[in-house]
Symmetry: C2
Subunit: 466 residues, 2 copies
């Protein structure tokens, strides 16, 4: 399997751009800098700028823009914060990027129902800032301060998913603009429903290829009475992973459990001026009542000790907890500093938890035999782990080696009954892997794509080939 | 809105039946009794028998049957235990019912991964019986001992959904036979995935209209260390519902919280020879560690007392707990006994929890002003509640009045931001309500249906009109 290259671009859609300029005035840009910015995400994929960028402020405006594009069969690429990792925002066939970052209104908060409706451009940190005085929070935390529309479109998750689920479990309903400009509402505010096809879940993870998400209704949670964190180094990767498996099997409702390998711990020590053991390590967080949190930590501490965990260090003070998690959140930047001047090629897979130790150990052996450095970190309660290959994009041998390691990683995950991506998405970087994973089910995905986007204008060239 | 009547039936598909008989021998039946049995579910909907019933034993056999039906454009109706409630198994356009009740094999249990793969005909009780020695259980418990394929197809839930979710959250992956006989696998065994469209969730709740589910991979849970139950009568419906809202808001991980109104409590006392207060009542169940369960019960007890709950009675002994839940599970039969000889017309809606007290109180006023009796029970932690109109199906005034009350119930739920069914599904009994609820989103549902079933042979006349 080789790197996917961008297909040739269509001619500039001049007529559509003229109509959009009449509609949007200054909020339609064809400047080189703006186009470049919108053709690039946070990954190693090359810049592929659109022909124009439309800055939308409402669902109705997105609908009007899509109608113009549909009339001229011009591609439409939705854009939130541009923090996708598999080339999701690249304008592979040219067209118009719809930037929803100006749609930053929090439309409704219902503390009694523990839900909220936001415009798609609201970011996760903006939402939690807004919720600060309500005693509620929204738990999904991918690395970036991404837009909630983008997080929905990529089925994002993060460190809290083991307890609170991913965007799949936390989106109650959506407003979506379809490929013909039609506005639909999927789902509603009921916690459960048996009413018809689950369009909400169909759009969650569709990466802009079925429609443009403009509003999102999300579940919220009460901030727990008590939180505590713990850190524990292990003799072996196996010991760390077995601790996670036994914790999950025991039904201990751990809020976060993150694995960091020796390479990542070394990077964090250097970057964050800390002095933690350079060993396979687990970071935990516990949420609950004061007594419940204490009980969880004691149970997990006992499991860790049985599996070769040493110095199970339990922090209840917010400042200690925050320091630990700040170090975890800086893991990516800490990793990059291991090879100054390098770029990161991030990738992730997810496997059944019984295969997690094997998956990580075999992957670390691959990396050890390679000239590339890559730390391993993971949301291991879900069986999900990440690599970041530190590459010089100008060195073909680096890129080829990263691709080779990535291929081996994914093929191993699939052979173990896992998936080619736990949370980064397909974009165009993992389409070949999706074909391998989905097999004949790809036929059904393509049929759905053709049904909802017959002219293939919605983020074409991503997720599913049609 | 009036009751939906069955469309005229197509001519008997003789050629298809002959081919299926060659394929299946004795396992293809055209006997009147077998056809009648398969044309009827547990609801008030009339018997609409298929032309033939095919008893399938494997995914490959289902595929072969569907291929024959596809060739002759003969309708296909999947059938598990026949316990649907909105006419889902009725052969509205004739055709062949595929009975998967012989597909009762538990294909794999992975205690380490807390998951299992079963054939579609395995029932929930059979699965839990099989799991008995593993320390694991599967929590979803609709009233009937339904097949797991059918529970998937109708997006079923039950009393544990407030803690463990519905079939939507608990199906990891599926094997499905599409309308052309193609076999696909959706999802896998990874706990999360960002790989392509969420076909799993598309088939969960599709009620046989997009394909035949033949195998289901499900999440399992460890049996909690401790369980306890509690029962608490309230002065008012408002007090009971406010207790539920405050419990959910406080993040107390209650495993079950069931509301039963005074009418239902009276019925239970008579039916189960008990002597509980004839008042709006909550039944609770708590799962966790011994200390955690005690803490949960104490917290909920305090909330209940603040809301006019009296005699919060906490049972930790299994026999007391089982007696309470047996009474709850018999609620339907207890209700029917309130009007000897009557049939039940069951219905359910789900609303945002902040509107739940209003929804129940206004609905009870409707019932009080009617000549029909209907107890109210609910999985109120989700905002979901049920009525059972006790009708004589031979009395048109009973059926018209039940329809009128049902219309008012659903319209009220929709006006409150809720859904026309929380867990029973659409079948053909609630198609008009779905049209009202989904609005323009129905276009997308119909597009998906046409894409995956272009000849409209999969359970035609249900869920979405095409």
């Amino acid at each position: 399997m080789s790197a996917v290259s961008a297909p040739p671009r269509a001619a500039a859609p001049e007529e559509a751009i003229a109509e959009l300029r009449a509609l949007l005035g200054d909020r339609l840009s064809t400047s080189g800098a703006v186009r470049e910015h919108h053709g690039k995400d946070e990954s190693y994929h090359p810049v592929v700028p659109p022909d124009a960028v439309a800055f939308a402020l409402s669902t109705e405006e997105v609908s009007a823009i899509v109608k113009v594009c549909a009339k001229h069969k011009v591609p439409v690429i939705p854009f939130g914060t541009g923090t996708s990792l598999e080339g999701g925002v690249a304008a592979l066939h040219g067209g118009v990027t719809i930037d929803v970052s100006g749609m930053r209104e929090i439309l409704r908060v219902s503390p009694e129902d523990l839900d909220v409706t936001v415009q798609a451009g609201v970011t996760r940190k903006q939402l939690n800032e807004h919720l600060r005085d309500t005693g509620l929070f929204f738990p999904i935390d991918p690395g970036a301060d991404a837009s909630l529309g983008g997080m929905t479109a990529t089925r994002a998750s993060g460190t809290n998913a083991v307890r609170y689920g991913t965007m799949r479990e936390n989106v109650l309903g959506l407003t979506v603009v379809l490929a013909d400009g039609r506005i639909i509402k999927t789902g509603g505010r009921a916690r459960k429903s048996a009413a018809g096809y689950d369009l909400t879940r169909l759009f969650v993870g569709s990466e802009g290829t079925l429609g443009v998400i403009t509003e999102v209704t999300l579940r919220l949670y009460g901030i727990p009475e008590a939180m505590s964190a713990a850190v524990c180094p292990f003799e072996t990767v196996q010991g760390a992973v077995d601790t996670v498996i036994q914790t999950i099997q025991a039904g201990i409702p751990v809020a976060r459990v993150e694995f960091l390998d020796d390479v990542q711990m070394d990077a964090i020590n250097r970057h964050s001026k800390m002095n933690m053991a350079v060993r396979p390590t687990l970071f935990f967080e516990f949420h609950g009542t004061t007594a419940g949190v204490k009980e969880q930590a004691e149970m997990v501490g006992a499991i860790a000790r049985e599996n070769g965990g040493t110095d199970f260090d339990w922090a209840t003070r917010p400042e200690d907890r925050n320091k630990l998690w700040a170090a975890r959140h800086d893991a990516y930047y800490a990793a990059l500093a291991l090879r100054p001047g390098s770029k990161g090629w991030p990738t992730d897979v997810c496997v059944p938890i019984s295969r997690l130790a094997d998956a990580i150990i075999e992957t670390k052996a691959d990396i050890a035999a390679s000239h590339l450095i890559s730390p391993v970190v993971g949301h291991v309660g879900d069986g999900n782990f990440h690599l970041v290959f530190l590459v010089d994009p100008d060195k073909p041998e680096d890129m080829a080696e990263a691709q080779r390691l990535n291929d081996r990683l994914v093929e191993r995950a699939l052979a173990m009954g896992g998936t080619c991506t736990g949370e980064h998405g397909i974009g165009y970087g993992k389409m070949a892997f999706l074909e391998q994973e989905a097999g004949d089910a790809l036929f059904a995905m393509a049929a759905v794509k053709k049904a909802l986007d017959p002219d293939n204008i919605m983020n074409p060239g991503k997720v599913v080939r049609v």
